[in-house]
Structures are given as C-alpha cells and as structure tokens.
C-alpha cells in the first residue's frame, strides 16, 4: 500500500498536480519530513515547490502535524501554504 500525497493552492500549481501516490515499491519514508525530502529529491518541480525554505504546512490524515509526524502506508499526506480563509 502506498502513501497518498495531496497538494493545495500555490503548491498544487507549482507541482502541476493535486494528488499523487508514493509508490509502495519505493519504500515509504517514516516521517512527514521524510516524505517531503524524498519528493524534493525527485527534482523539479517538487524540489522548488517543497524546498526547505518554503513555508509550508503539513497534514497527515486530515490533521495538521509537525514535520516529525510518523507516517505509514495508507496515510494521506498533504502539503500546502499557510492558510488564508475567513
């Protein structure tokens, strides 16, 4: 089972897709930060959109979490800019 990865707003536009799967045969990074680093390692457009100097928030299974949050196969991990609703 793989991880589902979602992008929103400016991150979605920069990467050019709203959702993708982290392939199960690639091994699943153990933390949210690990997922981000693995995506950055893929090169453009992920390397710029998810670069460590980009202020992003991360949600795992619909909860905003710290980058150290443990992730496992079957989880949904989302990367998005600071929120601006209301």
């Amino acid at each position: 089972m793989s991880i589902t990865i979602r992008y929103f707003a400016g991150v979605r536009e920069a990467i050019g897709c709203a959702v993708e799967a982290w392939p199960a045969d690639a091994g699943v990074p153990s933390t949210a930060a690990g997922v981000r680093e693995a995506l950055v390692a893929k090169g453009q457009p992920w390397s710029m959109a998810l670069a460590s100097d980009q202020v992003l928030r991360i949600a795992v299974n619909h909860q905003i979490v710290d980058a150290s949050q443990v992730v496992a196969a079957g989880d949904e991990v989302a990367f998005f800019p600071p929120v601006t609703g209301g």
Binding site: F8, A9, V55, I64, F80, P82, V83, T84, G85, G86
Partner: protein, 161 residues
C-alpha cells in the same frame, strides 16, 4: 452544530433563525460575516481587487472546523454554532463566511464568535487567490492573525511557518 462548505451564497437571517429556533433558553445570538473587499493593503501599493477564488481541502476543512466548534463549546458557556464558508469564484462585495453562536447572555457568544473566527483564520485549510487587473495572486498569510489566536493561549504557527 452546523458546518457547511459551499459555493452558493447564504442568507444570514435564515441561518440565524435556524440556529436558535428550537432553544428558548437562548438570549444572545452573535454573528460575524466576512465579505470580499475590493482593495488590499498587503502590497506596498494598494490594489483593486475585482474578485477572488477560494480553494479548500474537502474532508479536512469540515473536520477542522467541527473540531474548532468542539473547542469553543469547551471554553465558553454557549449553546450552539453555525459556520458556513464559501469556496469557488467570488466577486467583490460577496459574502465569504458566516460564524454565529448562541448563548444565554451576550458576553459568551461575542467571545466564542471571535474565538472561532481567530481559529478559522489560521487553522482551517482555505486559500484565497485575488484577482486584480495585473493578474491573479495567492494571498499571503498574516502574522497578525497568528497573534489573534495567541491571545486565546493557542499557538497558531501559520504565517510564521
């Protein structure tokens, strides 16, 4: 509790009436309506905004707001709340968001309404894209909104990362 994310407009009178219709103990209904401004001071130069597009995270946004209402109920002596937030394409002057709270006396509903808005601004996954004559641009989060939530003893960590 009523939480709705919708593209269509809402009627404040209808929503407020429904919020306290079945509770004769209610003595206060406090509501806040956010609308689309036609100008912004976020840039060095003020700009004209003719509309905006709002994006959300279906599934998570609803859960996040429901959790906020649960927190508000734990903090304040309130009866109920309604939160309606629009998404999609909006024009200057349009209603964006309604937050309304019922309580026995005014103080608690005023406080809970402000708490919910402060919470929503920094913790609910919505994103605004402004449309101006120069093109479309995502709105930057504001640290002043983090500070507003901090007044309630909650660390927002939104604009500051």
């Amino acid at each position: 509790m009523t939480v709705r994310i919708q593209t269509q407009d809402f009627d404040v009178s209808t929503e407020l009436a429904a919020l306290h219709a079945n509770n004769l103990q209610v003595g206060a209904v406090c509501s806040f309506v956010g609308t689309v401004r036609n100008w912004s001071k976020q840039e060095p130069n003020a700009k004209d905004i003719h509309g905006m597009t709002l994006e959300h995270y279906p599934g998570m946004t609803e859960k996040a707001i429901e959790a906020m209402v649960v927190q508000a109920k734990a903090r304040f002596d309130m009866f109920d709340a309604v939160v309606i937030h629009r998404v999609g394409a909006l024009l200057a002057g349009d209603q964006i968001v309604l937050v309304a709270v019922t309580s026995t006396h005014r103080h608690e509903s005023f406080q809970a309404c402000e708490f919910l808005m402060d919470y929503l601004k920094t913790q609910a996954p919505f994103w605004k894209k402004e449309h101006t004559a120069a093109g479309a641009q995502w709105v930057d989060a504001r640290e002043v909104d983090d500070a507003a939530l901090a007044r309630w003893g909650i660390n927002a960590s939104n604009a500051g990362g």
